[in-house]
């Protein structure tokens, strides 16, 4: 098995995309998950459904809407042009945005579960110990929800690595900018380069298996420390 420099560039870009997406996604998903775990609002159900939408929507549908939105006539596209950033479509930034939306439920759900499992007691205890809400959130809630954050990060990362439909729609498969492993494999197969497709596909297979293995181990360890 040998990987071409283009293959390596695709792998590098994929890792870059997944890392940036994961970090930004955790920042975005934390307040959403906190709100979902604690709110009594009537908006909870519709917001929860909206967040979960990428789970059931075909990635091409998601990508299609994103393409429209990011394009020069779309609302996001008009804003980015007005702000002088140009179009996000067919760019790395656009890919990050698409990936964040695509992987959002994988970041939010583990965090919601972690916050719900924690209950309201630790925050109340912190309040009786003179910690205001923000202080308590960072010094109590986040450390206690750490397994949830680990899970959310790994799932977001892995899920972003595995995306294809959204990338194809809004990324456009431009080398070094938007060509990730999944689209590179697609390209190899289209070009009948089965040996190279095999190489990359094998890398993906091993990577995915390792992620699931580590997840399963962390879950087991978490269960043991609780009991």
């Amino acid at each position: 098995m040998h990987l071409t420099s283009e293959d390596l560039a695709a792998i590098l870009l994929t890792l870059q995309l997944a890392s940036v997406t994961t970090v930004l996604l955790l920042v975005l998903a934390t307040p959403i998950a906190w709100w979902l775990a604690h709110t009594q609002s009537k908006w909870r159900a519709p917001i929860a459904a909206l967040v979960a939408l990428p789970l059931v929507l075909p990635p091409t549908v998601l990508g299609f809407y994103l393409l429209i939105a990011l394009g020069p006539l779309g609302p996001v596209g008009q804003f980015t042009h007005w702000a002088g950033w140009g179009s996000l479509a067919f760019s790395f930034s656009g890919l990050v945005l698409g990936s964040m939306i695509y992987s959002l439920p994988f970041a939010v759900q583990p965090l919601v579960n972690a916050f719900e499992a924690m209950g309201s007691r630790p925050m109340e205890v912190a309040a009786t110990l003179r910690a205001n809400k923000l202080d308590a959130f960072f010094t109590v809630a986040i450390p206690l929800a750490k397994p949830g954050f680990v899970m959310a990060a790994m799932l977001s990362f892995a899920h972003t690595v595995g995306e294809f439909g959204v990338v194809l729609m809004i990324g456009g498969n431009i080398p070094d900018k938007t060509r990730v492993v999944s689209t590179q494999i697609y390209g190899h197969v289209e070009a009948m380069e089965y040996a190279q497709a095999h190489g990359l596909a094998g890398v993906m297979l091993v990577f995915s298996f390792l992620v699931l293995l580590v997840l399963s181990w962390t879950n087991r360890r978490k269960a043991q420390t609780v009991t």
Partner: protein, 372 residues
């Protein structure tokens, strides 16, 4: 104003909490009542954890909440300590970091000194480097109490801190709580439904039912209140405070001089002040003690009985007579000097002796339990 003022209103779908309490700023006020009577909700309102509660919370001269003035401090600003029913230590911190979590955030002075004091007071010096899951149930609650005390609260709230412990562990912690009461000046609101905790710890007793206060007052008065025969433990009975006055070493007995019920001060030079002999379990002269006398262990004679094995005869006046649920039984409230006893006797006995309110008689006490 030198009192704790709690005037609170909270409407819930299942029940309404509505209380108006004046409690002393000294000692332990025990809140007693069946589960679902609103004890925990009351405590949470005092702490500001129930944001829907309306009313007034004042501790000494500090107003924590007064909705008529639009004042309601968030929990983190109220200078209180809260010990929850179940262990509530932070699992991501070790014992030492748990202890300093609130301490660092309080603006109280002399933090190092206070920390050493609470560690000594609760005997947890050896546990500091442990993780919280290496602690026994009793150790967890001691750390939780120490953590609350380290913030130097003006009011300590304890929600059944011993309920999750087995009775051996409970006996481990009760002395620490008594020590807190005797050595610290911090008033405490203490929820329990355990009889032994009421009789050992309470200075003031608040009885709650269905979200309302049914009785409140010094513990010995509330327990001997015949209008509200309060079954604490096995039976109704009086709680008497006093000091050890003399020891009979030959027979291993101690004589307890009864103090005035409400203040706990000995009434000097009052000829009607009685004393009671109790089993000497290593008591010392001058030591303050609490005695529990159950109504079923008290009988009445018109003359001081002679030729009886019963050691304790107290001159008394029948203060009130109360029918019991079974028509053969009657509950008497007896005034013995400054304190009250309850006696459960048969209705026929009352008739035969011609007992009426105001009758002078002798109370014979068959058995006395030393609760402290």
């Amino acid at each position: 104003m030198n009192a704790i003022r709690l005037q609170l209103d909270l409407a819930r779908s299942s029940f309404n909490l509505k209380v108006d309490l004046h409690l002393p700023v000294q000692g332990i006020s025990v809140i007693y009542g069946p589960s679902g009577s609103g004890k925990t909700t009351l405590l949470r309102c005092v702490a500001g954890l129930e944001t829907q509660a309306r009313g007034r919370v004042q501790v000494g001269s500090d107003v924590w909440q007064d909705d008529s003035l639009g004042v309601s401090l968030p929990t983190s600003i109220r200078p209180l300590g809260y010990v929850f029913q179940e262990a509530s230590l932070f699992a991501h911190l070790d014992v030492a970091a748990n202890l300093t979590y609130g301490l660092k955030r309080s603006k109280a002075p002399n933090q190092e000194v206070v920390l050493d004091e609470v560690i000594n007071l609760l005997g947890i010096g050896d546990l500091l480097q442990r993780s919280t899951n290496q602690l026994s149930g009793g150790e967890r609650q001691r750390v939780a109490i120490a953590r609350a005390l380290a913030t130097q609260p003006k009011l300590l709230l304890l929600d059944e801190p011993l309920a999750s412990l087995d009775s051996a562990r409970k006996q481990d912690i009760l002395p620490w709580l008594e020590k807190l009461r005797d050595e610290l000046k911090i008033p405490m609101l203490y929820i329990t439904h355990a009889a032994d905790e009421v009789v050992r710890l309470a200075d003031t007793l608040v009885v709650m039912e269905s979200g309302q206060v049914r009785a409140v007052g010094p513990v010995s008065e509330v327990l001997s209140n015949i209008d509200l025969p309060l079954v604490v433990g096995d039976d109704v009975g009086a709680l008497i405070e006093g000091h050890v006055q003399a020891l009979d070493e030959q027979w291993h007995l101690a004589q307890v001089r009864i103090s005035k019920a409400s203040s706990g001060m000995a009434v000097e030079g009052n000829p009607t002040v009685a004393s009671i002999w109790v089993r000497d379990s290593g008591l010392q002269i001058g030591q303050p003690v609490r005695l529990r006398v159950l109504a079923r262990d008290v009988s009445i004679t018109l003359e001081e009985a002679q030729n009886t094995s019963i050691q304790n005869h107290l001159p008394c006046v029948v203060e009130s007579i109360h029918a019991e649920s079974h028509p053969s039984q009657v509950l008497l409230r007896l005034r013995c000097g400054e304190v009250f006893l309850l006696a459960r006797v048969t209705a026929r006995g009352v008739h035969d002796l011609g007992l009426q309110v105001g009758t002078q008689a002798w109370a014979q006490v068959k058995s006395v339990a030393l609760v402290k």
